[in-house]
Symmetry: C2
Subunit: 101 residues, 2 copies
Amino acid sequence: MRQYDHPAPETLAMTEVLRALSDPLRLAIVRRLDREGAQTCAALIGERPKSSMSHHFQVLRDAGVIHTRIEGVTHYNTVRRDVLDTRFPGLMDAILIARAD
Amino acid sequence: MRQYDHPAPETLAMTEVLRALSDPLRLAIVRRLDREGAQTCAALIGERPKSSMSHHFQVLRDAGVIHTRIEGVTHYNTVRRDVLDTRFPGLMDAILIARAD
DNA sequence: GATATTGTTCGATTGGTTTCGAACAATATG
DNA sequence: CATATTGTTCGAAACCAATCGAACAATATC
């Protein structure tokens, strides 16, 4: 059961995190993961075909915003709050709390 | 002495602000404006030709991140902290305070 | 082992962004 | 009014990002 490589906390770049979150669909994904906890990729499909969703999850993963745990055939995604909060204090709070898009 | 149109506070979009700040050069510009106060475009040239800098200032202005005041022939740029802090509380603090890039 | 499920990878298209030099506009100064 | 200064606009090139269908890989189930 192979797992993904996630970037180490120290290597997260502010600009990459911001870029990953600057897409409306990705921001919506992260907001939902934050509210509802771990979600599979499939649970969030509906807006786009799965190849598109897979792409966006990968962008978020590469930027260090989400963590993906593989269990069998399903991928559970979570926001890396601990890592993000340590490296960029207050950032995710500000982004996730905001009601404006 | 014509002035720019700046987007109204209510119309700022989180994703546009994040996108504007997701470029390393633009983030550096905003950090410097925040630390040193109003700066002309020219004061920040050095990394890129002025046409490139003009482009980045425009992206920041369109996203609502900076305000540009024209005085004679020079353009003074400032971060719209009041507007940004009202609409996205804590966001600029988190982005500007962070030491990581 | 055949089949279904979950998600990735590939390849192509489209559209947007960055970059920069050159020409331009507007104000200021000699 | 000629000239310098500040910054914009234009046009073209290069690059990057989003999108999606189709094929694929890996696990699970019958």
